[in-house]
Structures are given as structure tokens and as C-alpha cells.
Amino acid sequence: MDNGKLQIVAILGALVLLLVVLEMVRRRRLMERYALLWMLSAVVILGLAVWKDALNVLAKALGVASPPNALFFIAVAFILLLLLHFSAAMSRMADQSKVLAQRQAILEERLRRFEAEHAEAPPARPAGRAAADDEPRTLARSSSR
């Protein structure tokens, strides 16, 4: 009977993991492309919990004497794959942030030069103060709507 309780706990655990992942995707806390891996692992755990004999079958197929060891082997392999996936994701993000930083620096320099060039020229409208005062207000009004 202990076995039955354990099975229920395992099934509930897998379901909770699945629901948490789905909820995180719903709240945009987790992107779909990363959620898929977690949902896959939740489904695998659920499958193993529901079909108790699966582990024995799997262990036999892999030639592993003790089924729990087969489980550990697969779990470790999966986690390694997940970690590699995240290292790849991190490399990609580092690359993206590098490109952004370079772009930003080049644009900032261009803007600074542009502003310096225009600061030298006399202002086009000496009475620009009133206009400058007006403009942000209209902008603010339109944006608050």
C-alpha cells in the first residue's frame, strides 16, 4: 500500500510541476521555448509515475541491473542536456548584449556630435522658450489619454 501512496505523491508532484510551468508561461514569466523542456520533463515524470512498470522495462532495455540506477542515469543525462542548453542560451544572450552595447555606444557618439554641431549654430527661433514650454505639455496630454 505504501507503494500506492508513493505513486499518488509522484503523480501529484508531476502535475504540480506541469501546472506551475503552464502558469508561468501564462504570466509571461517563462518563455515558451524554455517552458517546453520543463513540460517535457514533467510529462516524463508523470508517465513514470502512472505506468509503474515502465522503469523496469526501460532498465531491461538498457541492460541496467537495478531500475533506480536507470532512472538516475537518465535523469543526470537529461539535466546535463538542460545545462548545456542554458549555456548555449547564455552565450547567445552575451552575444546579443555585446551587439547592443556596441550599437548604443556608436549611436551615442553620433548623437553627441550631432548635438555639438547644432549647439554651435544660433537657435532658429529666439522665442523658442514658449514653444518649448508648450510642446511637452501637448505631448504629455496626448500620451496620458
Binding site: R33, L81, L84, A88, A89, K98, Q102, I106
Partner: protein, 255 residues
């Protein structure tokens, strides 16, 4: 001294600087004095000191990276800047005063005489009296040996950052430049793109101030990393994506 720069050609000096407030002004002044036709842009690689301010005061343009990218990212920003502002040549000069701006004309002379895409100033191409720390020298000689075999030409100082690139080399490096310790791998990349490089002997000074990007303790790590980059670079079928291929930086997940 004869200046081979014609009126039509323009040259940008890129000075990557990370916490070099003490030296960067002097380097810029030397550049203005010794190579007046060369525009100077300092790439401030997320310095925490007054590097950007000192550079601006000395009359250089400054690219301020929002955070520290490392030497590769900083120099690549310079390549991108050179490409976007339509420069014919780009010369890299270190901010620590190691490189002598009066020798830029030697680089130009060599580029015009040899007709190659990149000229590297080498400390070892002839006896110049420069002695690098033993830990670094070993690495440099190993890289030099490997690159000489791979390129089938003599490469004596592949870690030298004192380099002059023409438009074709600028275009290659603006698109793709190695990350952490880029000089060695950059030579190999250039070769993969069927561009050419030559070395000329230059003299270099001891560092004027600041801390080198390569500490002696990091030398072993540096060597292993560059060796990995070299061998992986060799195995890469096409080191840089051709037009129309998948972008090197994409939002799509890999594995």
C-alpha cells in the same frame, strides 16, 4: 617623414581603453602630434575611472560602452565605427602607451608596398630590445609557431595589437571578431577569408600605466583558451556567415 596617406584616403585610430585615465591623454596627444591626418576614437570599455573624460579633453572621439565587453568587443566596436563612418583604414593603438604613434607611417608604408589587407607591428620580427615576461613569451612563441604553420608564412608576434587594416579587413572584423583575447584568432580569421597579412618590425615601449588585460596568473588560462579558439576556428567550415545565411546572433534557441 614621408606620409603615404593620400588626400582621398582616411584613417581611423582606434584606442581601446579600460581604466587608462592616466595614460590615455598622452597617447591621444602623441597620435595628434605624430599622425595628424588620422582621426582618433577611444573605445571606453566600461571604465570606472575618468578614461572617457580624459580622452574627450584630449580631443578624441569617444565610444562609451555601457559595460565592460573585454578587448574583443571594444575593438570590434571600433571596426564597426570605422565601417559606418566610411574609413579606408583602421589602425589599432593601445591606450597604455606601448605603441609608438610615430610608427603608424611605417605600417602605412608597408601596406602600400606589400599590397596586403593587414599589417601587424611585431616586437620580434627583428631584435628591438623588448622583453616580455617569460610566462607570456612562451605562449606567444607557441601561437607564433602554430600560425606560421597554418598560414605557411612567418608570424612572429600574433598577440601584437598594433595593427593596420584596410577596408576589406575592416568589413570582416566589423561583422565578426573574436571575444576575449582576439589578436591571435583574428590572424587566422583573416587567413580563412583569403585576406593577407604581413608583419613589420616595430619597437614597443614598456607599459606606461594601468593594468594589462592579461595578468601573469591568467597566462595559462589565456593560452588554453586561445588554443581552443584556434582549433575550433580551424574546424569551422565557414568562420563567418555569408550573406543570406543564418545570423550569428539570433533569438532562436539552439539545442
Amino acid at each position: 617623414m614621408q606620409t603615404p596617406l593620400t588626400d582621398q584616403s582616411s584613417c581611423l585610430a582606434v584606442v581601446p581603453a579600460y581604466n587608462e585615465a592616466a595614460m590615455v591623454g598622452r597617447v591621444i596627444n602623441a597620435l595628434h602630434r605624430e599622425a595628424p591626418s588620422v582621426d582618433v576614437v577611444v573605445v571606453d570599455d566600461g571604465s570606472t575611472d575618468q578614461t572617457a573624460l580624459r580622452a574627450q579633453e584630449a580631443g578624441a572621439r569617444v565610444l562609451r560602452l555601457p559595460f565592460n565587453l573585454g578587448i574583443g568587443g571594444a575593438v570590434q566596436a571600433g571596426f564597426k565605427y570605422a565601417q559606418e563612418n566610411d574609413y579606408d583604414y583602421m589602425v589599432q593603438v593601445d591606450a597604455d602607451g606601448q605603441h609608438d604613434p610615430s610608427q603608424i607611417s611605417l605600417l602605412f608604408e608597408a601596406m602600400h608596398n606589400e599590397g596586403v589587407d593587414m599589417i601587424c607591428g611585431s616586437r620580434f620580427a627583428s631584435p628591438t630590445g623588448y622583453v616580455a615576461p617569460i610566462s607570456r613569451r612562451t605562449g606567444i612563441h607557441i601561437f607564433a609557431f602554430l600560425l606560421s604553420r597554418l598560414l605557411r608564412q612567418s608570424v612572429t608576434d600574433p598577440t601584437s595589437g598594433f595593427r593596420l587594416c584596410n577596408r576589406r579587413a575592416i568589413a570582416v572584423f566589423a561583422r565578426d571578431y573574436p571575444h576575449d583575447y582576439p589578436e591571435v584568432e583574428a590572424v587566422l580569421m583573416l587567413h580563412h577569408h583569403r585576406l593577407t597579412m604581413r608583419e613589420i618590425p616595430v619597437r614597443m615601449y614598456e607599459r606606461g600605466g594601468g593594468v594589462s588585460s592579461i595578468g601573469s596568473g591568467k597566462s595559462a588560462y589565456y593560452m588554453v583558451k586561445v588554443l581552443l579558439a584556434l582549433f575550433v576556428g580551424l574546424a569551422r567550415a565557414r568562420p563567418v556567415p555569408e550573406p543570406g545565411e543564418a545570423a550569428p546572433v539570433t533569438a532562436e534557441a539552439g539545442i
